[in-house]
Amino acid sequence: MYPTDYLYTKEHEWLKVTGSEALVGITDHAQDQLGDIVFVELPEVGKTFSAGDEFGTVESVKAVAEVFMPIDAEILETNANLEDEPELVNKDPHNAGWMVKIAISNPDQLKGMMDHAAYAVFVEEESK
């Protein structure tokens, strides 16, 4: 269910790290909780964020959810497909539904994140 080579946060974001860059999105659990996603708002390319900053919003029919940057980062690219097809986040949250590509400013911060097994346990605990 959760890709084994990704890192995860307690706010239900994922990171796919490749060298000094990473893709960021929300997890399958997060999209399931939100329901039908109809609008995704993403930041400008070049913008920088500190760990914990809100960098975007995801809106389902009923609810608005903020998306948080797990680590210090600069935005390199945003997923332009989400403008016309926000439902990609529902259909393929861990791949085609990625939200932003970032430059990792401080790789040490990755150490605090969960791996797929820890995240799966976290989700289970949280929904009890």
Partner: protein, 366 residues
Amino acid sequence: MDNDLRRTPLCEAHQKLGGRMVEFGGWYMPVQYSGVLDEHHAVRNAAGLFDVSHMGEIFVTGAGALAFLEYLTPNAVSALADGQCHYTFFLTEKGTFIDDLLIYRFNAEKFLLVVNAGNQDKDFAWVEQQAKAFDVTVDQAGPRYAQIAIQGPKAESILARVLGSDLSDIRYYWFRTLEWRGMELIVSRTGYTGEDGFEIYLPNAGAVDLWNTLLESGSADGLVPAGLGARDTLRLEAKMCLYGNDIHETTTPLEAGLSWVIKWDKGDFIGKAALLAQKAAGPTRKLVCLEMLERGIARHGYPIEVAGNPVGEVTSGSHSPTLNQPIALGYVAKDHAAVDTEVDIRIRNKTARAKIVKGPFYKRKA
């Protein structure tokens, strides 16, 4: 906390169908099953089945029933025939909303009032208090009654087949009682979706049977269970007000664009004097329909601005599944409330342009 919530007789049925349960107005209700968009489209194109047992039923009976309801509510109760119902309000002396409701006339001495779930205790207390001066009996029947709504272009054929009864002669805002499996059902051609359909009132004990029978029989026609999420997007497209959002104890029917309900030439009713005064002066704000011109979804509570100045507030807003674009309702100061006026909606830390449009956003083809 879930244990403190009220449950309808269909609660277990919802959970078996995979319904996602949430708190709504003190009730534990399904917000969605397969998904809000699927359910919404099913209602527009085929049919949807809603558990609305959380709504409150109040029977008013007795020789004074007609005179009492004429005084209690602003629509013309005396214009109702047996078997007919209409939309109306409970108003404060200030002319503001206590609730919106339907009144059903069985005969001149028996009426059914159907009120909002979250208001039913407040409403019953209000009706009881006002009833003291009249020769009537007031019965809070909500706890004994379930309500199931079947809505959509296929609703009539599915329901007629299940009930074994021709329903084509029940016109919009009329109703009939009929027997089904030893129970008395009240079947009315009404709804909260902007689609053709029916609302069925029945004793709690029969709710699961009717629900399951309808779903089994109707699934081949595209009937699906639909939750509160779809109910909200459907009613918003049809510009039907939601108490607590679009109408409340600080707004009046004149402001909400619901003056068509008020029958000025009937006798006195609670709130009449205040509404006459507001009518003479002209309401200072108006409930309007909004379409977004820039990306963003206006939501309940977001400020509406013109040239950086606040002129109002969004009361309901969502993505419209039928139009595939964001839509909203909101109150705007009267000087800025004309159709085609452009306004800004403050969405979190920025604004997005929107335009006032003539409602409703969706009207079914006759």
